[in-house]
Amino acid sequence: MIAIIDYKMGNLRSVENALHRLGAEYTVTADHDTIRRADHVLLPGVGNCAEAMANLRAAALPDIIRQLRQPVLGICVGMQVLCRHTEEGNADCLGIFDAHVRRFPDSAEHKVPHVGWNTIANLEKGLFKGMKGGTFVYFVHSYYAGLCPDTVATTRHGLMFSSALKYENFYGTQFHPEKSGDAGETILSNFLSL
């Protein structure tokens, strides 16, 4: 069973739909025991990262998440909350990935938010098994995680940032695999095979 953590950060429908298309069984929950017992845990998230951290704390989830030993995948803001700190609302995050989250600098050439399809490169196996650098995936974000030892995929939007991170059993994608067409489905099914 897959647990999708519900911490009131945006609509979970698209993640649910993607799992449904893959034929996976899932439950949407904030229940600590259900999350601990799940084979895989998904932490989606759209919106403000500081608010996401506040919601996780309100549901007493930070320590529950930190102690998970099964594969965990944070998506978009769900990845950012697994980092050390975010400039968005100057909030401390869960500190699993050794990355800081910063706002893209405003630039005429590289618009903020970074919206649309961009390529991922320097892919490590695991999430990206069977995939080639240069694959397009779908992004929507204004804040990015910098490069760090946990980086397992990179993308360039003016500057180079971490489009995916991994530390032990924790994975994170800045892009939305659930909206990234066939490439996204491959990434999600790779995660579910971990």
């Binding site: 945006g10 609509n11 429908r13 698209s14 739909n17 993607a18 449904h20 298309r21 759209v46 919106g47 403000n48 405003d106 005429a108 590289h110 618009k111 903020v112 938010p113 970074h114 919206v115 649309g116 399809w117 961009n118 390529t119 397009f136 779908y138 929507v140 360039r156 939007h157 939305h176 659930e178 909206k179 990234s180 067409g181 066939d182 996204g184 489905e185």
Partner: protein, 252 residues
């Protein structure tokens, strides 16, 4: 590098797409999910579904349809048409829409942009502007499908929409829409210099060359088109191949 996006637009009435020829291997082009899936398979980067229903009964069908689209399609999609309150937006978000497009309602009450962006994020809000170049030399935003000109001027309105929280601007020139004579690229370039959020160009595409021009000299981030795709004049794959030949970054 961020790819320029190609976005087919599907008009929906009473739960059925109203345009579209019979594509090879696609039995029911009237089914919005089928047609959307077909375009996604061809390489569409996003889809826009526009509800052109006239009655409340037809509108009700649209929400149910949005759920089916969300379940059946693995790329982002925007829904527009008849969204005038935050409750409308919430209903479509709950049904699984990635973005909503608002137009007349935002002109009537600009605070609607703030409200939706504050609650659901800017990434959820596309502000569509149908503008017409009039005799006074200004582009005036229009409502009601371009029939009613307002005193809002394109560039200042786009800027205000951005400041209120719009995540993207979808600009249609009512002077060019349906003419298939190409886009007003100078106006697009000026719009791109006016706002920092992405711009989707709509209305006027008659050929791949028109789309290439608006994505380069017009500095648009995406091109939305309906008839050239629906009538099978060019496939999305062929269009992207032509754009790539001209050095335009597209997802293939």
């Amino acid at each position: 590098m961020l790819a320029k996006r190609i976005i087919p637009c599907l008009d929906v009435k009473g739960g059925r797409t109203v345009k579209g020829i019979h594509f090879e291997g696609l039995r029911d082009v009237g089914d919005p999910v089928n047609l959307g899936r077909h375009y996604a398979h061809e390489g569409a980067d996003e889809l826009v579904y526009l509800d052109i229903s006239a009655t409340r009964e037809e509108r009700h069908t649209f929400t149910a349809l949005v759920s089916r689209i969300a379940d059946g399609i693995n790329i982002p999609f925007t829904v527009g048409g008849g969204i005038s309150t935050i409750d409308d937006a919430a209903r479509l978000l709950d049904a699984g829409a990635d973005k909503i497009s608002i137009n007349s309602a935002a002109i009537r009450r600009p605070e609607l942009i703030d409200e939706i962006a504050r609650r659901y994020g800017s990434q959820f809000v596309v502000v569509a502007i149908d503008a017409r170049l009039t005799d006074d030399g200004l582009w005036h935003a229009t409502t009601h499908g371009g029939t009613v000109a307002t005193d809002r001027e394109l560039f200042s309105w786009a800027r205000e929409a951005q400041d209120r929280g719009a995540g993207e601007i979808l600009f249609t020139s009512m002077n060019h829409d349906g003419t298939r004579s190409g886009y007003p690229c100078e106006t697009f370039a000026r719009l791109a210099a006016t706002v920092s959020i992405p711009i989707i160009a709509s209305g006027g595409a008659g050929s791949a060359a028109d789309i290439a021009e608006v994505l380069t000299t017009g500095h648009a981030d995406a091109a939305l088109a309906a008839s050239i795709f629906h009538y099978g004049e060019i496939t999305i794959g062929a269009l992207k191949a032509q754009l790539a030949e001209q050095g335009i970054a597209v997802r293939r």
